[in-house]
Symmetry: C2
Subunit: 500 residues, 2 copies
């Protein structure tokens, strides 16, 4: 500077509230003072994409964790995390159980606008009476919906640069986990039920493929008298994926990636299975049949189905990478299921990537708890390069661990559970001299699907069922095959328990 201003005559900035442009105060995070964090989209995935998506079952990529896979796990994790962050779980809000933003505004509000993806659809779910605790309901009489919850969204990569970087156009499905704590994992009367998504007769099996009843209910339930679930989450999804594949199949190579944390991980696994089983990833491009790879990035997921489900999932080619924190209990449930006097066992699917929160120097193990071990931000923190791979520059601030926990060491000076709206959404009006709960911006009020969309989804789901029936008829004419050699030993896992 030519004429340095003596410190005491520096004029004050015109605005009085602190601005983002001011130098941030260090939060006491060793080694991260004033650090600007990289976005998880700085590495070239390019022609490695099939490998990163699990074409070789992540062989050789997990230990040590491949740098590209790491940033991809973070990137998909952020899509799944957004479904938590944008969820309205305030029971006094008129819109409790919905997304706080329209699909057009979502990525802007949760700071994912840089991802190059565009949200194409919101998925709503309802559930049978048996699993009410999986849904959040508004206490207000003027509630937007008493039957449905926003449960996830579909997005597609629309940015040409990002398509080039990723090596393909990615269709992404993110499922929201439960926000009611971990009661669902403790309370769920885990019960294997015929999954019904597969025509097992063509495989020569009778009712061998079973999945957890609560997850299936959430995925497949519809209520004709509801506004948002005249069709099920399943129908929402399959129709949208079919349309997106139709739209883009001739333009680019495609991939389908499904992600979720906790309950969302179960829905991710189930829906990925359903998409593959319904052949929605089989399409014709330039006269050739092409199979679009389907990948599940599962974080802290419980088991979903029995061994037959696992076998079939592998048979239809779905690749699942399950990230599991050593001390997290949720991936250990359900173990056994008793139903009609039979005891069934659940099986994990896919490939496991183990992380351990004891490895991170930023976490205070004295504050470890069931909830902290399971927390999604803790998972992302560990994947991000803290803990086992504490060498690379991270893309996430350790401060994020405390969004909903108090797991950080106290020398980090980060408040506990700091992710909270001002005054729980109440706003003060000077003119009226009172606080009030403002109406949502018109564009953010949830809008039920149009009748024609509902009709199209219904018709398409029906056609899928019809197709499966026709196949079944055709198989029958050929004469049924015996159970496959791989499936037979599964029978041994089902034991009759006399005590029941």
């Amino acid at each position: 500077m030519e004429h340095p201003i003596p410190p005491h005559t520096v004029s004050l900035p015109p605005q009085r509230r602190p601005s983002i442009a001011n130098p941030p105060t260090p939060l006491g995070l060793q080694g991260t003072h004033n650090r600007t964090y990289q976005r998880p989209n700085h590495l070239q995935i390019g022609n490695r994409w099939r490998e990163i998506q699990g074409a070789n079952d992540w062989e050789g990529l997990l230990d040590p964790l491949d740098e590209c896979l790491r940033t991809e796990l973070i990137r998909y994790g952020m899509f799944a995390q957004a479904a938590y962050d944008a969820f309205d779980f305030d029971m006094w809000s008129q819109y409790c159980g919905s997304c706080r933003y329209s699909k057009e505004n979502l990525f802007k509000e949760v700071d994912l606008h840089h991802t190059g993806y565009t949200v194409t659809m919101y998925i709503y779910a309802t559930a049978d009476v048996e699993v009410p605790y999986l849904l959040k309901r508004s206490e207000r009489e003027d509630a937007w919906s008493s039957k449905s919850n926003w449960i996830g969204y579909v997005a597609v990569c629309t940015d040409e640069g990002e398509i080039k970087r990723l090596g393909r156009r990615d269709i992404m499905i993110a499922w929201r986990g439960s926000v009611t704590g971990l009661e669902w994992a403790a309370n769920l009367e885990f019960q294997l039920t015929p999954c019904g998504l597969t025509d097992e007769s063509k495989l020569g099996l009778s009712t061998h493929i079973k999945v957890e009843a609560g997850f299936l209910s959430l995925y497949t339930s519809a209520k004709e008298d509801s506004r948002f679930n005249k069709v099920s989450a399943q129908s929402y999804l399959v129709k949208e994926i079919k349309d997106l594949v139709e739209k883009y199949k001739d333009q680019d190579e495609l991939s389908i990636t499904v992600c979720g944390h906790s309950l969302g991980s179960a829905l991710a696994t189930l829906s990925a299975y359903d998409l593959a089983e319904s052949d929605l990833n089989q399409t014709e491009v330039g006269g050739k049949m092409v199979s679009i790879p389907i990948t599940v990035f599962s974080f802290a997921g419980p088991r979903v189905g029995n061994s037959a489900f696992k076998e079939r999932l592998e048979a239809v080619g779905v690749k699942v990478l399950r990230v599991v924190n050593t001390h997290d209990r949720v991936p250990r449930v359900p173990g056994l299921s008793a139903f009609e006097g039979w005891l069934w066992t659940y099986s994990h699917v896919g490939v496991e990537l183990e992380i351990n929160d004891e490895d991170s120097q930023h976490l205070d193990q004295d504050k470890a708890s069931i909830a902290n071990h399971h927390n999604f931000e803790v998972y992302l923190h560990l994947i991000d390069g803290y803990g086992r791979w504490d060498v690379k520059p991270p893309s996430r601030d350790p401060l994020l661990v405390n969004k909903g926990t108090g797991f950080l060491k106290e020398d980090k000076y980060v408040p506990e559970a700091w992710f909270q709206p001002k005054h729980k959404g109440l706003v003060y009006s000077v003119r009226e001299n009172r606080y009030y709960q403002p109406d949502r911006a018109i564009e953010d009020i949830p809008v039920p699907p149009k009748p024609e969309t509902v009709a199209a989804a219904k018709a398409f789901t029906k056609s899928l069922t019809l197709k499966k029936s026709l196949e079944r008829e055709r198989e029958k004419e050929k004469g049924s095959q015996p159970p496959s050699a791989e499936a037979a030993p599964l029978e041994n896992l089902v034991h009759r328990i006399n005590a029941f």
Copy 2:
């Protein structure tokens, strides 16, 4: 409108976040939907002001509660409440224990800019080691102060219209209560100690006037090695009051009003006593000695001193109106004090106005708790016309009850404990891709008093002591008087307990 726009073609407002101008959503408060609340400064106090300030000990004003007195209690209550609302109690903040705003910004930020008062000084307090739980301390190494807390402020009415409405120019002192819960009331080793604010020899008493040691410590402690308490809260205050009286005594009639809740009420009583005892309300106007009335509006206050203190407080003319919620325990402590083998009794001072939270139809007695009975907003809600006087239009929204409690009935649809900053003060920087704790605006960073101010306060406090000493000498020359007839029976309240 000449050309009404059909509802479906109404263009959206340009901004997408809800604006204050939008019609507020009703919160389910029966009878208060869309109500605009009156400010508590709409009634003419005019020439009734001496009566309202307690000149006749509020005779005939309390049952039913006089309408002017009611709005005045609310008005002063809001000044005292502001000391809570603006207090930084985040232990991870660099400025924990200070006011979040400068004295110039305070009333703007807590929406008291309409009061016609101007804040003239902030009071800081420190305390002996015995009462550390009365202060909040930052956990950070770069803390603004490890020894001092912002404990209150002095304001003066500067608006001509308001001076006319009130009938005089009011000097107001607001003391902050404790934000560390009610532990202080439970843990304080209540101990009567000679108050030392009075030259008792001129009264012929020896050490009869005693007050609670913790309150006195907070009021009178100074630490030469601190930045903000080279002088005590007492010295801050007396100098400021002297200056304000000097400045305004020839312009208007004056009043001094001291208010506070809980611990703040104790400080209000103690400081009002000190001001009167030091003759700071005795001044010469146009050759005539004038006594400026001193009034304490005390909310949920504990007992402060022994009977001698009470008698002396009345003798020096301080008027105290104590508002007490029936089930609040704090006004019932301390009762007895054991010290050096003696048992001392505490006495309440002034006139009591009893309120009862069982009277309000808005409160859910199933959620009653020690903290809820004591909560300041519950007090203001009851004074405001709910409960016993549930007839007049209120000036406060019942929703405010839930600022820090969950005491409202559930049919009110108001979140519990909703008064909270967004993300506990963390702010997101898009550019840096991280959250950070922003620096305070320069003007809101606490500034210690200038050396000349400290010197002046010290000199003035010394002169007051000197004055008392001189008076003592003079009294001694006259020959000491025997204890007054009123004070003598107090001796009977002090019992020697052999068991100690």
